[in-house]
């Protein structure tokens, strides 16, 4: 699975990288950077799903 950020929607709240530093870090200008290209590990998938849930911009999704 791949984590995708919609940069149009993202308003850089920071919720993903502060709550889930296992998967995200703050990148240039405040947009999130994804640390793991292909997410397979169950623990990482849990972080991805929780990040999707807490994102106030609804800018994160998981794709095949």
């Amino acid at each position: 699975m791949k984590v995708v950020i919609d940069r149009e929607k993202c308003f850089m709240s920071g919720e993903c990288y502060y709550n889930h530093p296992e998967l995200f870090k703050m990148g240039e200008e405040g947009y999130p950077e994804i640390l793991i290209e292909d997410v397979t590990d169950e623990e990482h998938l849990r972080h991805a799903r929780e990040a999707i849930e807490v994102c106030p911009a609804v800018a994160i999704s998981l794709t095949e």
Partner: protein
């Protein structure tokens, strides 16, 4: 520049006597000292209090962002210190550092203070504001701190927790003692502990009841939340409640008083703008949080040696992040010592935890940044704006009762003492 300052040091900057941080002058007006720190001592080693001080906007921001080098916790989670034993709230989230545990605890309640959950509570904030205003509206005058600002937020948070409305006056008393117990030792700490114990006796049966039959309220949510597969202990639940009552009440209380102070005394010329366009109350809130926020200092401990500019801060050093100083940094804001609700170089809308905005403007540092960013930020903003707007709408010709005012002050700023006017008398017509 402070009177206490000596002529100069070998680097050409002014020397700074660290005893100035304990002076009443600094509590009343810290801004000249902040400027001296930013200009001449951006990484100041205060040998007298055994701590380091950062004061420039981007240095404070950088430390807030750098969890690898700066931790909030005084103690290690796996060390001999038993969390909660030396804190007036009991065990609570403020004692945890950058740990997973902190993140999990925070997430139990953080979602309750933003978005739709918050929107659902806005009508209740309206109602409580009106009830509080009703009590003094016929008097033609009000002492904002005791009659208004300290009344609204505590009633809102106790409502969110689902505590009985008829007991609100009792909570107000407890919370005032809890807050005093935070910043001071001695009798204040003792009174804070007594308030805590009284509150715990009161709340024990409620915790038992709501753990069995949870409702929609915040207390129920905390009671049934699971961490690593198990619920929190009653002690941990009560620590959480004490924190929410105090942090959710006192900070917003002081924000409201500060907003009125600045519109009545600092920029009375801008009050008509706000009266005629109530949406500007959010600008008043934002500019207050920059110009002279409720909280000026956050404390961190280094987890390793940190180099900033030409200085090295050693490992396990205490570091003060003066966000009140960063907010007045000429490197981040034009004409920083002017209070202006129409300021164009400040991000005026809702804050981001990252401190970064799509409009490219700098935000205020008043809620902190990053891992420990205020989780009640959205609620504090809404609640302050609503309460202020309600009062403004129900009065005419509101004005200071006295021409002179002592201004905004802090009883003890270094221990997290919150800044606000101690009294604020206003007169109005109906």
């Amino acid at each position: 520049m402070a009177e206490a300052a000596a002529p100069s040091d070998e680097r050409g900057g002014r020397d700074l006597d660290p005893r100035v941080f304990d002076s009443p002058e600094f509590q009343r007006d810290p801004f000249p000292i902040y400027k001296a720190l930013r200009d001449h001592h951006p990484v100041y080693h205060d040998r007298f209090h055994n701590r380091w001080i950062l004061s420039r906007y981007w240095d404070v921001d950088g430390a807030f962002q750098d969890n690898e080098s700066f931790d909030r916790a005084m103690y290690k989670p796996d060390g001999p210190y038993k969390f909660g034993t030396n804190h007036v709230f009991g065990p609570n989230i403020l004692e945890y550092g950058n740990s997973d545990e902190h993140r999990r605890l925070r997430n139990i309640v953080a979602g309750q203070f933003v978005g739709q959950k918050l929107n659902d509570f806005l009508p209740m904030i309206d109602q409580i504001s009106h009830e509080v205003i009703d009590r003094f509206i016929d008097d033609g005058e009000v002492e904002i701190v005791s009659q208004f600002s300290s009344q609204v937020p505590i009633r809102v948070i106790s409502n969110m927790l689902g505590l009985p409305r008829e007991d609100e006056n009792t909570f107000v008393g407890w919370y005032q003692d809890l807050i005093a117990g935070l910043g001071f030792g001695g009798e204040y700490f003792a009174r804070g502990l007594k308030a805590r114990n009284d509150m715990w006796d009161y709340i024990d049966p409620m915790i038992e009841e709501r753990s069995k039959n949870p409702g929609e309220d915040l207390l129920s949510r905390i009671c049934v939340a699971e961490l690593n597969g198990s619920r929190m202990t009653p002690e941990e639940i009560k620590g959480f409640v004490a924190l929410l009552l105090a942090a959710g009440g006192d900070t917003t209380d002081k924000a409201i008083a500060n907003m009125w102070y600045h519109l009545m005394y600092t920029r009375p010329d801008q009050y008509p703008d706000v009266r005629d366009n109530p949406n500007l109350w959010e600008n008043v809130f934002t500019e207050m949080m920059r110009y002279d926020p409720v909280v000026h200092a956050q404390f961190r401990f280094t987890t390793r040696e940190v180099q900033i500019h030409d200085k090295v801060i050693p490992e396990r050093a205490g570091v003060i992040l003066y966000l009140g100083a960063g907010n007045r940094d000429e490197r981040a804001f034009n004409d920083p010592d002017t209070f202006d609700i129409h300021r164009e170089d400040l991000h005026m809308r809702r804050e981001n935890r990252s401190g970064r905005y799509k409009d490219g403007k700098n935000g205020h540092l008043g809620f902190g940044i990053g891992q420990h960013f205020c989780m009640g930020y959205a609620m504090a903003r809404q609640e302050s704006a609503i309460a202020c707007r309600m009062l403004a709408e129900r009065v005419k010709n509101i004005r200071p009762k006295f021409t002179e005012h002592d201004g905004v002050t802090a009883p003890n700023i270094d221990s997290g003492g919150f800044r606000a006017p101690s009294e604020l008398w206003l007169e109005f017509d109906r």
